[in-house]
């Protein structure tokens, strides 16, 4: 087994071309292997010290968040908190301070768990993943990226370098809420993100995506019908659609029936919080804590 620390992006890409797996914070890779989910890869290339992956750059149309940005940064960075609040909501819920200080956005996305917290926010914000190999750079939609629990369509030699997020229009807001049984070291039982744009008192766009109720992050479809309706109606419609479209399993954490019920509750609360932010209300990150018990609104 070999372990090397990349000193430049090219270095990392070359190592991956030669068969190495990247390690960022290691909070999935190392912990998973210790829990027996799979042996550590034969060759590992550490990418956690690359400045190229750690930047957040606001462009004219798109904001580029480096794959190596940690959850601790995401939950406090002014751009993320103001513009892409749902990502900050999600990052602030990850594990514990220790997990957030080393765990990265890229690791969360590329690990491909249906319970990943930043996934649903990235989907409702229309993000794409930038994948780079020695030869090429390409952007893929998240829908294309995630192919099943723990699997992605990225090639083995492709490094995720950034998440690209379209800048938000005026009068818009986003939020992420998750159902949790305790306030740290938790994993989403279910979770929902919403991004809402308002036209006065009515909803002009709404996107909702769901955590841990399907093999991958699930975007709720058919919400075009709520365009023009009130926030309350949109929230109720999103809740109903979320409960209908979810395909949850029963496991140790919850039964499918309970997940189907609570995913609706989360969707409603996410739409409500996103709309309130769109109206200019300040709801501190994370929404879960700002609004009370677990994810009480």
């Amino acid at each position: 087994m070999s372990f090397a620390v990349a000193t430049s992006l090219d270095d990392a890409l070359a190592a991956m071309a030669a068969g190495a797996r990247p390690i960022a914070g290691g909070t999935d890779l190392v912990v998973g292997s210790r829990q027996g989910k799979g042996a550590l890869p034969d060759a590992i290339i550490a990418i956690d010290r690359l400045p190229e992956l750690a930047a957040i750059e606001v462009g004219d149309d798109v904001t580029r968040i480096g794959a190596g940005v940690t959850h601790a940064t995401l939950m406090t960075d002014a751009t993320v908190v103001d513009q892409f609040s749902s990502i900050a909501d999600a990052a602030a819920l990850v594990g514990s301070p220790a997990t957030r200080n080393v765990g990265t956005l890229g690791g969360n996305v590329m690990n491909g768990s249906p319970a990943m917290d930043t996934g649903a926010p990235l989907v409702v914000l229309g993000a794409e993943a930038e994948l780079r190999s020695v030869d090429a750079t390409r952007s893929v939609s998240l829908d294309e990226l995630w192919t099943g629990p723990g699997s992605t369509s990225a090639n083995a030699d492709e490094l995720c370098t950034a998440l690209l997020i379209p800048n938000r229009p005026a009068a818009s807001g986003s939020a992420y809420v998750r159902l949790e049984y305790r306030r740290a070291m938790e994993i989403a039982v279910v979770g929902a993100a919403a991004a809402v744009t308002l036209d006065g008192d009515t909803v002009s766009t709404v996107r909702v995506a769901l955590t841990a109720v399907a093999p991958t992050i699930l975007e709720v479809t058919g919400l075009d019908a709520v365009v023009g309706s009130t926030i309350d109606d949109a929230a109720v419609a999103a809740a109903t659609a979320a409960s209908e479209q979810a395909t949850p399993i029963s496991d140790l954490r919850a039964s499918d029936a309970y997940r189907r019920h609570t995913i609706g509750v989360m969707a409603r609360r996410a739409v409500d919080a996103a709309a309130r932010r769109a109206m200019g209300e300040t709801i501190a990150v994370p929404v879960n804590r700002a609004l009370g018990v677990g994810a009480v609104a």
Binding site: Q35, E180, Y181, V293, G294
Partner: protein, 761 residues
């Protein structure tokens, strides 16, 4: 100076633990040391038809593989000697040890473990408590009477101990009652979950073995080795490095004998370090699951006139220290109430689950949760406030309890009043999604023999050599305060030598809230001996009578004449050249309180409570009704634990106990599959509370100088805080949703289903 006036509590083990310089068992390495690993049964009930370790032994780097064939044929356990170190003939739970391997590295050891060949004839698996007590149930143990049985241990079929409390005429009283309420509650099993998984190292020199182990009870560990490996006490030395928590989970002998036998076979020191999965599944220390059926009759004024109950407790596959559980549980379901007519039957039932054993206040959190939830149902049935209902029915000083024990001065009434006042019961306006819940509970103190040695050196410093064990409570550190107080010194003048069975006199260690209660009394006596010697020396020097010498502030002075004084260090210096200053002490027997008018089958020492501790907790809970997620916002805790000698440590115990209680109430439950195996033997799925979940905790003590108790009137305190929290939370949830959640833990999903039932009803 009164001991409670001591300005600060100096936790001598604190800096080591906080800075990381402290050594735990797993941190140790000995020359030539091998890695030990176990092969577990992997099935819950089966007859072993083949066990072949030859392939494992043949792997290069493997030094020894041992099984039941390699150790003396000894059956052991308290009450019913039903078990062997290594499985013999039949396995009865999946974490039972079949074989132990010693190898050059953990990886090689694991390969050898995997190379062991075992074949089974599967036997029917017993997991359901009600089915297990039916006449036609398959048996976990074919023939209990074939085992050595000690004490009053009535048993039959799968019932290991049957205990009953009977007083008065409950049938007649129930028939005549004005209101009768019956309730059923089911508690899932749970775990102690110390943050340090256990570790054991054994090293032989000639015919002597030294064992380093993360135990709470070094003398029990030593005795377990002596019993199962048939060795004299003098040949086994147990040393305990720092212990990373126990919560009862590290009481009793566990794997010390296995590793000692393995090291002997391997002719090298061996080290066992458990994974978290092993810590959950293998040891005989699970908090037992329980089914409680309880019926209570009230008169027209709301006085309890009769209570009957039937309890089934899941013992798992073997008796650990659990033989008293049935009677203890019965006492908690009776509760600290004046009930003239009682009949409670409790059965400790063998199943093919991991064995149950003492976890912090065994049987109490579940029993108390059930009966205190029931108590709120009683109050609701007659439209009485739950606080008023308890005020009317609790035991007070001079009252007779449910087994006919008359209580000397006790402070339960004050616990109730102070907790209600602290919370603002009935006066605080709460939002619609919040409620208070109240619960009371009790827990005994225990007398057990303990000893202490003490020496004062030429520099006036003192060493206390004690069998007490520090498992995180800070209680051992209080022993320094006791010695310093007796000798007129500062606690920093006193060092402890502890956690070494070869050096210290025997004692119960860190179990049963007994450290201060028993080891403390021994230390006081040893210190009194040296204090007497100092007084004699000072009397000669100051030309006064020894009876008039006062030891305080580092000096011996003549009472009333403070100018006639000599520094203690001067006396110590002189003694070092003459007769050495040595002390020793052993606890005096305390009188066990009498019971009158009741009959108790299966008497296991729990029918009366020595120096009983009383508790009232009020919890303020917020509930998210859409999801069933409850959050505890405040707990107001008032404890009667007698004199509080060490307030800092006492508050710490209450806060830790409450947090553990919240976990047991809401998130901590062990789930099983149909084969009897645990489904959530990991920290992500077995959900402890975290510090982020901690509520505001307001703690007060009713300080009653208790007769027939520990040093200076102290009772125990380590277990009591864990007793009533779940009951208080349950009652708050019930107040919000109209009925109690009948299964523990009261998970969000269970709360949500209970709300759904209420809506349908």
């Amino acid at each position: 100076m009164a001991i409670t006036d001591l300005p600060t509590f100096v936790r001598a083990d604190g800096p080591d633990k906080v800075t990381g310089s402290g050594r735990y068992t797993a941190d140790m390495t000995l020359t030539g040391m091998l890695a030990a690993k176990f092969r577990y049964a992997g099935v819950s009930h089966a007859r072993i038809t083949k066990l072949d370790v030859s392939a494992a032994k043949a792997i290069p780097g493997v030094f020894a593989v041992i099984t039941a064939d390699d150790v003396p044929d000894v059956r052991y356990s308290y009450g019913i000697a039903d078990r062997t170190l290594f499985a013999k003939g039949v396995v009865r739970y999946d974490g039972e040890v079949l074989a132990a391997v010693a190898a050059i590295s953990p990886e090689v050891a694991q390969r050898a473990v995997d190379a062991i060949v075992v074949e089974y004839d599967e036997l029917p698996i017993v997991t359901d408590l009600e089915a297990a007590v039916a006449d036609d149930s398959p048996l976990v143990h074919d023939d209990l009477d074939g085992y050595a049985i000690t004490g009053d241990t009535p048993h039959h079929g799968n019932v290991g101990t049957h205990s009953s409390i009977e007083m008065g005429d409950p049938d007649a009283a129930m028939a005549a009652a004005h209101t009768v309420v019956s309730s059923r509650f089911v508690a899932d099993a749970s775990h102690a979950v110390p943050i340090e998984p256990r570790a054991v190292i054994a090293q032989w020199e000639g015919d002597k073995v030294t064992i380093w182990t993360s135990t709470q009870v070094p003398f029990d560990a030593r005795n377990g080795v002596c019993e199962t490996l048939e060795m004299p006490t003098t040949k086994v030395r147990v040393i305990v490095p720092h212990v990373g928590g126990g919560f009862g989970g590290k009481c009793g002998p566990h794997y010390e004998p296995h590793i000692a036998a393995l090291a002997r076979a391997a002719k090298r020191p061996c080290k066992l370090v458990f994974s978290r999965w092993e810590e959950f599944t293998a040891p005989d220390r699970r908090r037992e699951g329980m089914i409680v059926d309880v019926t209570t009759g009230l008169d027209a004024e709301g006085n309890i006139v009769a209570r009957t109950g039937e309890l089934l407790l899941d013992n798992g596959a073997y008796m650990a220290d659990s033989s008293f559980f049935a009677q203890a549980a019965a006492m908690h379901v009776a509760g600290p109430y004046t009930i003239p007519n009682v009949r409670i039957d409790a059965q400790l039932v063998y199943t093919n689950h991991q064995p149950s054993g003492s976890v912090r206040a065994p049987t109490a959190p579940q029993g108390c949760w059930a009966v205190e939830s029931h108590t709120d149902e009683l109050a609701a049935a007659i439209g009485m406030d739950p606080l008023d209902f308890r005020r009317r029915n609790i035991v007070r000083t001079g009252d007779v309890g449910p087994t006919g024990q008359t209580y000397e001065e006790i402070g339960l009434d004050r616990c109730l009043d102070m907790a209600a006042e602290s919370a603002g019961w009935g006066t605080t306006e709460l939002p619609d999604d919040e409620a208070f819940g109240i619960s009371i509970g009790w827990w005994p103190s225990f007398h057990m023999p303990a000893g202490a040695y003490m020496k004062m050196h030429a520099d006036g410093k003192v060493q206390v050599i004690t069998g007490a064990n520090e498992c995180g409570t800070g209680s051992v550190m209080t022993l320094r305060m006791l010695a310093a107080d007796e000798l007129g010194l500062d606690q920093t003048d006193v060092e402890l030598v502890y956690q070494d069975t070869a050096a210290a006199p025997d004692g119960p260690g860190a179990s049963g809230s007994m450290t201060l209660f028993n080891h403390g009394r021994a230390v006081e006596k040893a210190a009194k001996e040296i204090a007497g010697q100092l007084r004699e020396l000072a009397a000669t020097k100051l030309e006064a009578s020894a009876a008039d010498i006062v030891l305080a502030d580092g000096a011996a002075s003549v009472a009333g004449t403070p100018t006639k004084s000599v520094p203690i260090v001067e006396l110590a210096e002189a003694a070092a050249e003459g007769e050495l200053l040595l002390g020793s002490g052993s606890t005096d027997e305390l009188e066990w309180p009498e019971i009158k008018g009741s009959s108790c089958l299966g008497e296991q020492g729990f029918s009366s409570f020595m120096a009983p501790q009383f508790i009232c907790h009020v919890a303020r809970v917020r509930l998210d009704k859409d999801t069933g997620v409850a959050r505890v916002l405040e707990v107001h805790a008032v404890h009667d634990s007698g004199t509080i000698l060490n307030p800092v440590a006492a508050h710490g115990q209450v806060e830790g106990g409450i947090l553990m209680g919240i976990g047991q109430a809401l998130t901590e439950g062990t789930q099983y599959d149909e084969t009897g195996s645990q489904r959530n033997a990991a920290l992500l799925e077995y959900k402890l509370q975290t510090i982020a979940d901690a509520p505001e905790i307001h703690t007060q003590f009713v300080e009653i100088h208790t007769p027939n108790a520990g040093p200076k009137g102290a009772k125990g305190l380590a277990e009591a805080p864990n007793v009533p929290t779940a009951g208080a939370i349950s009652n708050a949830i019930a107040a919000l949703i109209g009925r109690p959640v009948r299964q523990l833990p009261m998970t969000a999903e269970r709360v949500w289903s209970t709300i759904a039932e209420e809506v349908t009803a």
